[in-house]
Symmetry: C2
Subunit: 422 residues, 2 copies
């Protein structure tokens, strides 16, 4: 039976049923109790460090053939487990999103109306590689009063299971043991099974590569908020009064400060009237930082050390030390390029012109738009939202950094004294 | 070619491409311009009344075999066209949701952060029968700066086309002619084609019966906010100090004031300790109002004129003059019944107990919960939200009455002076 379709289906159904049963229990805890639960989970992760590291060692051995980048994302050590515990403590300390009244009034007929934040119910998180997502996502869902189903990648199965086991005693202590459930199968067919469980699961958050996004988007009949890739752009405008050095600094920071993450830039667009003043400094600086610069014809005239850029490059998220560069005749052309090739994650402009900044913001349909600062700031922590469960690349429900508050829905509560409608 | 899969696909694609091209134009209009556009559309509907009524007459003739209820929803007359124009004028006068800053702060590094409402882009509305949805939905989408694709039912095709034609001159005057596009095909296969147009359509709102919901939910790869049926409950609690008459009035109002709509009740649950005091009055009153009452054993002991209720009844949205009634031993049992059979649309409790009201609100996972007032108040107009594009029965993005504000998404705008991340 093990590994068969039937077995996978049963594991998924039993896992979802467990969270369904726990849903009311976790939603019934007060905000204080949910914080106390998280404060109990943090030391439990540290206490279980030996068994988590053991399990991680097994994943690392099984993943010998993974790329260096993937192995780095998979690896845990004492300091990474300390960071996981610290994230749980931080989430415990955040403001409680549940019960918050976001709108309210007394209607003309005397009925008191309140729009309140309430838990979503059961949230499914499907993720790849990084085992810390297991405790981060669990803590954020519990903070918002939700039960969570965790479906991690096959490569991190031992680590993820050990992290869930470490959290279990704290959950049991608060009577909500099944509010965090690890979907214990490594079969790919579990994903289409889970994302069609209407009535059992209220939201699926896929975090990972294009393959995962495609599978979830095409199969899902439950609501999805995607945490997809970032193909981010920086546009350097023709108006650069006093901003030339800022343009150079922001370009280098946005590409090189942490090139493997979603809010790093992949493409630099430069207005033709300033190209010769800033481009050679930037492309030279990039090369010094180990970046391969691919440019269009005009870029290579200004800096012949650049390699030629292909049409495919404009649509590629390198997640590494490569940058595509294009010289554009206008802000409008830059915006058209971004609309054609971007992923609506984060774009930036450097300009000294208020008018140019406003036109750029209005024309670029991205979750975050940076004026005169680095794309690297697109982050829930930087925005003051606390820990994030991811960065939504969708437009509905949550857009950009998605925190505990976005793991709630609303309930309208009307309190009257016998009113009927005439 | 007409009617073939290929033709349908082409009509859908061309329609979506037209709205895509209009997207930027409508989003670029100021709030004042969008209001002026709607103010121009309202008299245009009245001016076109003769041709709209002509078209409606053709639909009515073709729909001779439709039920009386459907024919009533389909029929237009001068007063209904006046109501459509009035709705457009009301939407014109509402507050502009676009550009509203919903969150903002200055970050420690001096960057100014704003979370702003921006248009969603292109919204697809799929609806049945009532032709007034054509102008209501168009006005709400335009108000929020969106282009709209309208896919109405085959039975109202002539009426819907005539209403879109009536609005066209006003749209052209403001340079946004293609921001309202009628998908001119009556083939069912248009629906799966439209709801898989990722990158072309940002949101689909299906409004209609269970068949439409199933088709859209199963086929869609674009985000969906459903406007599904309402299987609403009223629970009469054991604590009724001074509330007995209110319980009777609310029960009768919630069932009979307008039985064909989604916020009317289908099921009445009564606590066993008050059943003999209130039930016979209610079931008698219901019968006087022409309602067929179906009850469980205890109900029929108290009022033998009730017919027996079947298991199937608990899951049936009658949308007419039938009511299922059950006597329950506790508030918890009432909530369990609602969770098992409800549609999470609207539920009500009548009680004099604060504790009972709080427990009911906490346990009932519905968009609207009424304490001591009729379920019939679940309506965007009653909530003070202005016109609604529907009542969302989903939990994500919008829940309950959905107005122009819910047809927007967010954009984070960060304005710095050269900041980079350290």
């Amino acid at each position: 039976m093990q590994g068969s379709e039937h077995h996978v289906e049963r594991v998924c159904r039993e896992s979802a049923e467990r969270t369904q049963r726990a849903r009311l229990a976790i939603a019934s805890l007060s905000g204080g109790e949910r914080s106390a639960l998280l404060r109990a989970m943090a030391p439990a992760l540290l206490d279980a460090a030996p068994s988590i590291l053991d399990a991680n060692q097994r994943d690392m051995e099984a993943g010998n053939d993974l790329s260096a980048a993937l192995r780095d994302r998979l690896r845990l050590d004492a300091s990474r487990i300390e960071s996981m515990a610290e994230a749980v403590r931080m989430i415990a300390a955040q403001e409680d999103p549940v019960g918050r009244v976001v709108d309210g009034r007394v209607l003309p007929n005397g009925i008191r109306l309140e729009k309140r934040r309430v838990p979503l119910g059961v949230v499914l998180v499907i993720y790849e590689s990084r085992p810390n997502v297991t405790s981060d996502a669990a803590a954020l869902c519990l903070k918002a009063g939700n039960a969570i189903l965790l479906k991690g990648g096959r490569e991190a199965a031992h680590s993820n299971r050990a992290i869930v086991e470490a959290m279990r005693p704290a959950l049991a202590e608060f009577g909500v043991e099944d509010s965090v459930v690890f979907v214990d199968t490594t079969e790919r067919s579990a994903i289409p099974t889970l994302v069609t469980m209407r009535g059992m699961i209220d939201l699926v958050i896929p975090r990972g590569g294009g393959g995962l996004m495609k599978v979830v988007t095409e199969a899902a009949t439950i609501p999805v908020v995607k945490h997809d890739a970032g193909l981010c752009h920086l546009y350097i405008d023709e108006h650069l009064d006093g901003m030339k050095q800022a343009a150079i600094d922001i370009a280098l920071n946005a590409k090189t400060q942490r090139p493997g993450v979603c809010n790093a830039i992949e493409t630099l667009l430069v207005h033709e009237s300033v190209a010769e003043h800033v481009l050679p400094v930037i492309t030279g600086g990039m090369r010094d930082a180990g970046v391969e610069v691919r440019g269009d014809e005009r870029v290579r005239e200004l800096d012949p050390a650049c390699s030629p850029v292909s049409d495919e490059d404009w649509d590629t998220e390198y997640l590494g030390l490569t940058l595509s560069v294009r010289v554009v005749p206008s802000l409008e052309e830059a915006c058209a390029h971004i609309r054609a090739h971007g992923s609506q994650h984060t774009e930036a402009i450097v300009t000294s012109s208020i008018d140019a900044a406003q036109r750029f913001v209005a024309r670029v349909d991205s979750a975050s738009v940076m004026v005169n600062c680095s794309t690297r700031f697109a982050d829930g922590g930087e925005y003051g939202l606390g820990a994030e469960i991811g960065i939504s690349t969708d437009k509905l429900h949550a857009r950009g950094p998605m925190g505990a508050q976005d793991l709630t829905t609303f309930q309208w509560v009307l309190t009257g004294s016998g009113q009927v409608r005439g």
